[in-house]
């Protein structure tokens, strides 16, 4: 028997803040593209840094704070918010069996050590022995732990007492989509009742910008909405995004009101021949067609900003509108940056927030026909889309709780 699946708490720490009021304020501002951006620190790149926040509120112990890099701190913080919202924080019985499926990259670096090593490699033809000495003397043991992605989950276990399980998925955007999908499938099939799903990404890393720019992905031109950028069109953003997912029966039994229903979560991949990603996405839509209620559908798009890919998604969503689905599309990366592993889950949280308010925030792209529509007060369903920069297409269909 398939179980109904619901979301009962969320947390999102991002460039727009950590509360729904803050996100909506930024997303509804007169110039959402520039409301949260930092175009100076990594000039000519644009970056969406995390807001000032008080880590101590969710991670009180100094030792725990030091054991994590920024990415893990964002995750642990957002996780705490989600647990609190779902009424689970500090509940040992529930924490003893809640299962975490997270998505994270890792690899936080010590910039100073790296600078010395790269300098050595430039100077010495045979740097081996000196490299070993330098790394042995200068690397901090705690940095290694902050670099291991499995400690994304591990740290959350320690900080919040999550003891059921902690599995961390890797693999950029797909990791976030798959974390949500696997938790959903397991809950639906009765392989578990209570899950934490989350991810985090830290954009404040000079090494990442060199790497993504080397791959021809970063926007160096002035900001525009995600739909009409060049292939080098991504602006990275920091975020930690988490939610609590459980069976409807489990939520009811512990007397918690669901924030949203999860009707479907799908993820897939293809070789990215032109049109192949859209074909995957259309197949996923087709599978949930009968679930669409016919009312206004808010679409939280995972378009990362890379030109050809964004245009492919735009065509697909246009096809959806042409098929009679009343869509209000929002390319949120234009306001919050592309948050890679966290992108799909951050958009899920924003989607739940839309369902709670019954409406959607204003367009990021005022002149775009897909974004133009302002659905006012009648949003009952949200489609979250995920389109990885290199691979991975996913979607989730959320619905207003009863």
């Amino acid at each position: 028997m398939a179980h109904d699946v619901v979301l009962t708490g969320y947390g999102l720490l991002c460039a727009a803040g950590e509360t729904p009021e803050a996100w909506w304020r930024a997303l509804s501002s007169s110039d959402p593209l520039h409301a949260c951006v930092d175009s100076e620190t990594y000039k000519p790149f644009h970056v969406y840094p995390i807001v000032d926040y008080d880590l101590t509120a969710q991670v009180p112990k100094k030792g725990d704070q030091r054991a994590m890099g920024p990415m893990m701190q964002y995750g642990a913080y957002a996780c705490g918010l989600a647990l609190e919202a779902a009424g689970i924080k500090g509940d040992e019985e529930l924490l003893g069996r809640i299962e975490l499926i997270g998505a994270a990259g890792g690899g936080e670096r010590d910039w100073e050590v790296d600078a010395n090593v790269l300098d050595l490699l430039e100077r010495e033809a045979e740097p081996g022995a000196e490299l070993n000495r330098m790394l042995s003397d200068d690397l901090r043991p705690t940095l290694f732990l902050a670099q291991l992605p499995n400690l994304f989950g591990g740290n959350i276990s320690i900080v919040h007492g999550v003891a059921g399980a902690t599995r961390t998925f890797m693999g950029e955007e797909s990791a976030g989509m798959d974390a949500f999908r696997v938790a959903f499938e397991r809950a639906r099939a009765g392989q578990g009742e209570l899950f934490l799903v989350g991810a985090a990404f830290n954009a404040n890393r000079p090494d990442l910008h060199v790497m993504y720019d080397g791959g021809g992905l970063l926007l160096t031109e002035p900001l525009t909405p995600v739909w009409d950028r060049p292939d080098a069109g991504i602006c990275l953003g920091s975020a930690g995004a988490f939610f609590v997912l459980e069976t409807a029966d489990h939520a009811a039994a512990r007397g918690v009101r669901p924030l949203a229903k999860v009707k479907a979560v799908a993820s897939d991949r293809c070789r990215r021949a032109p049109g192949a990603a859209a074909e995957n996405a259309w197949r996923q839509l087709d599978a949930v067609w009968s679930e669409l209620r016919g009312g206004a559908l808010a679409v939280m798009s995972g378009a990362c900003g890379s030109g050809a890919l964004a245009r492919e998604e735009h065509e697909l969503l246009t096809r959806l509108v042409d098929s009679g689905v009343d869509c209000a599309v929002r390319g949120t990366a234009a306001a919050l940056g592309h948050t890679v592993e966290a992108s799909f889950l951050a958009n899920t949280v924003l989607g739940v927030s839309c369902l709670e308010r019954g409406t959607v925030f204003p367009p990021m792209a005022a002149s775009d026909p897909l974004e133009q529509r302002m659905a006012d007060g009648n949003i009952e369903q949200v489609l979250v889309t995920g389109w990885g920069a290199f691979r991975g297409e996913g979607m989730a269909l959320l619905e207003v709780a009863d």
Partner: protein, 428 residues
């Protein structure tokens, strides 16, 4: 949650592939493993001056140049998966490989090794000045930059395997540290049990021995420094054990719904009967002295299989040879198995192979199934000075023949995730 409730049940294993420092393929590995041969040797991949540990179980017999963590991890995974899929006979024709199920890959977190990082810093980058931009060399093409991105992001390895083996759906790359290989199998078991796919290709791979990875583990005081005689360094459950030895390798398993395997006439090698997992909330590198997480984990696997502790004939230990792990694992055995723990044989493959880290859970799962099939328990070698505090039958130094119907394989990770897999024999 330990059990899998309403959708549990046995999952068939129809193909396995293994590659470790002992060699390539199940045949060579099993021959050496049961003969007590060590795969640990002096490191030659990079200079060893100024290192506290100069030994490892690196896989150096493949023709790869350069050896980078992603290129070696991919090659190891590919070879293990080829052996496993060939044994399973799951590809119907000699043509396109079309695997009828999902792919789960436990892979090491990918980071640039130093030569790659140096090349990256030479790219004609748009990035502002930083330690990561040492030159802006316009002779380097955009192709180089793109390769340095794609090769070194975490999703690429599984994506390539998905293409090569024709698996279905979104391939999952995961890490639960030293439990990763077992988690990959667990995810496959769960997907088959809930009817998402009739088969799963589950792989654990790790080819990440580089200066920096070695030094990082060294700085955590996790590695043996008994460098003099490499083959003697890994000594799980011994009184003088002083850490694990890093190693590389991969293992793959083809898992199938038993009806799917039987319908196509496949030979079933054994079954995954139960899976248990638990997270420790105590510390990043140490387990809670109350042993609660590993006890829940082993108990969960046994219960999920519908068995009692006394039914377990043998345990393939996590057995890293660190003072901490072996003590806690023994403590866990005493609590889960009671008096049975004093006589039940348990052994550590890591005494010969070293710790293949991300791959270990899969490698040792494959050897556990071979133990059941062959009725031979590989030894724990280098067991010369028993630790009197660990009252266990570790199958010391020599293999042992014994009928094994049910066996447990333990994988306990840094960062607290623990997984135990319970394997059972195929029908006679």
């Amino acid at each position: 949650m330990a059990g899998n409730g309403e959708s549990g049940g046995p999952v068939a294993i129809t193909g396995m592939g293994v590659i470790t420092p002992l060699g390539e393929g199940k045949g060579e590995n099993w021959e050496k493993l049961t003969s007590g041969v060590s795969g640990i040797h002096r490191i030659t991949r990079f200079p060893i001056e100024n290192l506290r540990t100069t030994i490892a179980g690196s896989v150096d017999f493949l023709d790869l140049d350069p050896v980078t963590p992603p290129s070696l991890s991919l090659e190891l995974a590919r070879r293990a998966a080829e052996e496993a899929t060939e044994e399973s006979g799951i590809f119907e024709t000699d043509g396109a490989r079309d695997f009828p199920g999902e792919l789960f890959v436990a892979a090491p977190p990918i980071e640039h090794d130093w030569p790659s990082r140096r090349t990256l810093s030479h790219l004609p980058s748009h990035a502002p000045d930083s330690p990561y931009v040492t030159k802006r060399d316009n002779r380097l093409s955009n192709v180089a930059g793109r390769e340095l991105l794609i090769e070194f992001i975490n999703g690429t390895l599984a994506d390539r395997l998905a293409d090569e083996f024709g698996t279905k759906g979104s391939p999952i790359t995961l890490t639960t540290a030293c439990a990763s290989g077992a988690t990959a199998i667990q995810l496959g078991v769960e997907a088959i049990r809930r009817g998402d796919c009739p088969a799963a290709l589950c792989i654990g791979t790790d080819g990440s021995i580089q200066e920096e990875t070695l030094i990082r583990f060294s700085l955590l005081s996790a590695l043996s420094t008994a460098n003099e005689v490499p083959g003697k360094a890994a000594k799980p459950f011994s009184k003088n054990r002083d850490g694990f030895v890093m190693a590389e390798g991969a293992a793959a398993m083809v898992l199938e719904h038993p009806e799917h395997a039987k319908a196509r006439g496949a030979t079933i090698l054994g079954y995954v009967l139960g899976v248990g997992e638990a997270a420790d909330t105590f510390h990043r590198t140490r387990s809670n002295p109350n042993g609660q997480a590993i006890i829940r984990c082993m108990t969960g696997a046994i219960e999920d299989a519908g068995l009692k502790p006394d039914d377990v004939h043998y345990v393939n230990c996590h057995g890293t040879g660190t003072p901490e792990n072996d003590k806690m694992e023994c403590f866990g055995f005493e609590h889960v198995f009671g008096a049975h723990s004093k006589t039940m044989p348990v052994s550590s493959n890591k005494s010969m192979i070293g710790h293949t880290l991300t791959a270990a859970g899969a490698v040792e799962a494959a050897f556990t199934v071979m133990t059941i099939r062959d009725g031979v328990m590989p030894p724990t070698i280098n067991y010369e000075i028993p630790d009197p505090a660990l009252d266990l039958d570790v199958v010391p130094n020599e293999k042992r023949a014994a009928a094994v119907e049910f066996a447990l394989s333990n994988s306990f990770g840094f960062g607290g995730q623990n997984v135990s897999l319970l394997f059972g024999a195929a029908e006679a």
